[in-house]
Symmetry: C2
Subunit: 145 residues, 2 copies
């Protein structure tokens, strides 16, 4: 089971917005670069907007990033587009048998351990910023020429 492509699509969107700063960045343009539908982009934009990461101009169109790139981490984006705050990364089977000593204790025993794993992943995500992406992309674009 994989983490959905919304996450990598959102990073791609930020890369477009930053790389083509001189252009008005529309959902149509980003959909073209990512290879998807403009409505998918608009839904993602809504999630990023709700998380305070971008501002979207109605009517006129265009997207702006609200913070310096080195202050937007992968975890910010992950939480914005991927994560239902109510649910942990690891899913539990829901009906353990309470009459079984294992069944009635397993959930609690695993909770601590698995949330530690999730925290490790989140810490790693928090250590990567959009500035890192910008840097690597511009190096690769420069190398192309």
């Amino acid at each position: 089971m994989q983490i959905s492509s919304r996450f990598t699509m959102a990073i791609h969107m930020f890369a477009c917005i930053d790389t083509f700063q001189d252009m008005k960045m529309t959902s149509d343009f980003m959909a073209g670069s990512i290879g998807t539908n403009p409505v998918i982009i608009r839904k993602l934009l809504q999630q990023l907007k709700a998380a305070g990461l971008v501002e979207v101009s109605r009517g006129t169109g265009g997207v702006t990033i609200t913070r310096p790139l080195n202050e937007i981490t992968f975890l910010d984006i992950y939480n914005a587009v991927e994560c239902n705050p109510d649910e942990a990364l690891f899913r539990f089977h829901e009906n353990p048998n309470q009459k079984c000593p294992v069944g009635r204790n397993i959930h609690h025993v695993l909770d601590d351990k698995l949330s530690a794993v999730q925290k490790a992943m989140e810490k790693e995500l928090a250590g990567i910023t959009l500035a890192d992406v910008k840097n690597d992309i511009s190096i690769r674009i420069a190398e192309e020429q």
Copy 2:
């Protein structure tokens, strides 16, 4: 998006096999403890067997764990039941526009960063063993009495 409950179900199965060592552990019993269907258990057993973590007795029934509990990590189990070795944890959008400088470079740029995140998660999973689970479960069972 969550990691499927097969992972926590598999851990629960190991906890049953170990806790009730004196009993012949059948898929029916484990299904009862987990609250699922015996066929689900058998499919998981096949995956665990393929990974060399258990041995299953046909005809007579019963499951044995092939290694000491402290030598079976959560990562072993995760890889056995959850992971398609061909696919990374993070899913990519598949059709980035190769005519766009961002589209044709984003995948490569993200690959390194996201595989680092995956490695961090795997390292954490590798640091937890079934012996830890056994220990915590037996403490909790003892506290119940």
